[in-house]
């Protein structure tokens, strides 16, 4: 699919990001002095208490939210305004309710003016890969929450983006489907070499998928610590779950997150 981005440089660079939202009555500091560099091909997972600015962080990288201060770069270019070299999976599936599953996936191609035949072929591949076969024409309200989220994932992958930003993409899935989707995403990441940033509330998901886990504090969001995940690049779900290194990291993360939430 995509060539692995082997070139040097950073995929995503964030330095001293601070974001304040001010309304008439109050001022919220969503992010406070966040710096993080992400290498091409990395899979960074972000965990943190609710409302600590994880979604905001992804939106800054995508150029959808302008930071109050600080610098962001994507693929070594400064981010000013919305970026199109990315695939974004939103916290809600954000599907067009009048389009069937396949047409929703192909929206990506239509909006970008991609080659139709090629996009259609790729959409069919993705549909098969994510187990949506047979539901190509189903409208979003005819799909389960998990299936909707899979459609959103296919849509984000359609144009083979070098950077994939995912905001709790599997939050609406049941445990079993979630594991399957994790394994599937892991495989896609290995095969494509895409740089992925994934926000999650699941410690297991963060450890299984990530090459690095970033832990954020309660609002104002700061990066408390980043953990490298010392697990093989090629992971199998059952194996990882029984790996003592997984247990240790998961326990550490749980402790850290507990104290982060308690400070709130």
């Amino acid at each position: 699919m995509t060539a692995a981005p082997a070139q040097a440089g950073t995929a995503i660079g964030m330095s001293n990001l601070t974001v304040r939202f001010s309304s008439r009555r109050s001022q919220t500091t969503a992010l406070d002095d966040v710096s993080l560099d992400i290498e091409p091909g990395e899979f960074v997972t972000i965990v943190g208490p609710s409302g600590c600015g994880k979604s905001t962080l992804l939106k800054i990288v995508a150029g959808l939210v302008r930071p109050t201060s600080g610098e962001v770069s994507l693929l070594d270019r400064p981010v000013r305004g919305p970026q199109k070299e990315i695939g974004f999976v939103f916290q809600k599936a954000a599907l067009l309710e009048w389009r069937g599953a396949r047409a929703n996936i192909l929206l990506q191609a239509e909006m970008r003016g991609m080659d139709r035949a090629q996009a259609a072929r790729r959409a069919d591949e993705l549909i098969e890969m994510t187990g949506l076969t047979g539901f190509e024409k189903a409208l979003p309200h005819e799909l389960s929450g998990g299936m909707q989220q899979r459609v959103a994932l296919c849509r984000a992958l359609l144009h083979a983006p070098p950077v994939l930003l995912m905001d709790e993409p599997f939050g609406a899935l049941d445990a079993l489907t979630r594991e399957q989707m994790n394994a599937e995403l892991h495989r896609i990441w290995r095969e494509t070499g895409t740089t992925v940033v994934l926000v999650t509330h699941s410690i297991a998901e963060a450890v299984f998928l990530g090459t690095r886990v970033v832990v954020m504090s309660a609002r104002p969001g700061r990066i408390i610590r980043t953990f490298p995940v010392e697990l093989p690049a090629h992971r199998d779900y059952a194996q990882v779950m029984s790996d003592p290194r997984f247990d240790r990291l998961a326990t550490d993360l749980r402790g850290l997150l507990g104290s982060a939430a308690a400070n709130h």
């Binding site: 954000a94 067009l96 929206l107 990506q108 970008r112 187990g131 047979g134 005819e142 998990g146």
Partner: protein
């Protein structure tokens, strides 16, 4: 088809089923025809197709099923209409009310058939004014709605004008329009436009503004310009609102045309109505009223059909049944 789906994605279907109980608590029950639309649950459930089988999706309604659904949605209004005619006939035939005030349905029918060629000509005139007025109102209304929804400046500039145009009593400016534009079709069409314009603007603005900001963010990450975003996301998203406004507008357009004819005309159903009134010709008056209503109803149904074709996904038709909105 569903079987095929289950066959190829058997594993997936199994997981869906496993997650079933979780979904049931967190999202609307998949069995209650129409999902989140509360309107549907109020209807007697004689029609709604078979409940979607678990993991699959409900089949699209076939032609036969649609005809059945249509018949089902029509028998109640038909019954009410029949009862109304029976009561009318009863009151008029027994002369509880003198016939020069309320003619019998038979008298009205005779008048209508006897003077059909004349009445048809006048009906066509009013229909023409109404349709032209409605189409212009829809086009202008949509343009104004887009301008208002997209530009803060135009919003501030246009909204007061639109509101002013709405609150001025249109019937009061009808004579003025006749003075300005004469007795031809122009003042009637202008009046129809003026009356039908407002609901189109209001519904259009509401529809365009109702776009989920997340969808607009999505469009931005796809590198789409404003035109593509409008065409693929904002406009289709606004259609359900817009169609509701158009339905109101089309019935108002009839009023506009007829009021225009009242004030000064030599043809059209409004003109005939005044004539019949002056001659105390009750059967003609009633025939005329029926034709006016028929124009409104036919145009309304046409807009509903357009709606059903344009937005089959819309919640109010998720069950794929009624032709008339409840």
């Amino acid at each position: 088809m569903t079987e095929n789906a289950l066959g190829t994605a058997g594993q997936q279907a199994a997981t869906e089923a496993a997650g079933g109980d979780r979904t049931a608590t967190s999202s609307p029950p998949p069995g209650s025809a129409g999902g989140p639309a509360p309107v549907d649950s109020a209807q007697p459930s004689t029609v709604g197709g078979p409940p979607p089988d678990a993991g699959g999706r409900p089949p699209r309604p076939t032609l036969g099923r649609r005809a059945l659904a249509l018949a089902d949605s029509l028998w109640r209004p038909a019954l009410v209409l029949a009862a109304f005619f029976a009561a009318w006939w009863f009151v008029a035939a027994r002369e509880y009310v003198p016939n020069y005030l309320v003619p019998t349905p038979g008298q009205v029918w005779t008048t209508m058939t006897d003077q059909w060629s004349e009445l048809a000509r006048h009906t066509m005139v009013t229909l023409y004014e109404t349709v032209l007025g409605f189409v212009l109102a829809a086009a202008l209304g949509l343009a104004a709605a887009v301008a208002i929804a997209y530009s803060r400046t135009l919003d501030k500039a246009l909204y007061p004008i639109v509101l002013f145009a709405q609150v001025i009593p249109k019937i009061a400016i009808a004579p003025l329009l006749v003075v300005w534009f004469g007795l031809g079709l122009t003042p009637k069409i202008i009046l129809a436009v003026l009356i039908a314009f407002f609901p189109v603007v209001i519904s259009g603005v509401a529809g365009l503004r109702s776009t989920d900001p997340e969808l607009l963010d999505l469009a931005a990450t796809m590198g789409a310009g404003p035109w593509r975003t409008f065409r693929k996301i904002r406009f289709p998203n606004a259609l359900p609102h817009l169609m509701a406004g158009l339905k109101v507008a089309v019935t108002l357009a009839v009023v506009g045309a007829v009021v225009g004819e009242f004030v000064g005309a030599s043809e059209g159903l409004g003109y005939v109505l005044l004539l019949a009134n002056g001659n105390l010709d009750a059967p003609l008056l009633f025939a005329d009223l029926i034709l006016m209503s028929a124009i409104g109803i036919v145009l309304f149904v046409l807009v509903e059909i357009a709606e059903a074709l344009l937005i089959p996904w819309h919640a109010s038709r998720r069950a794929g049944v009624s032709l008339t909105t409840s």
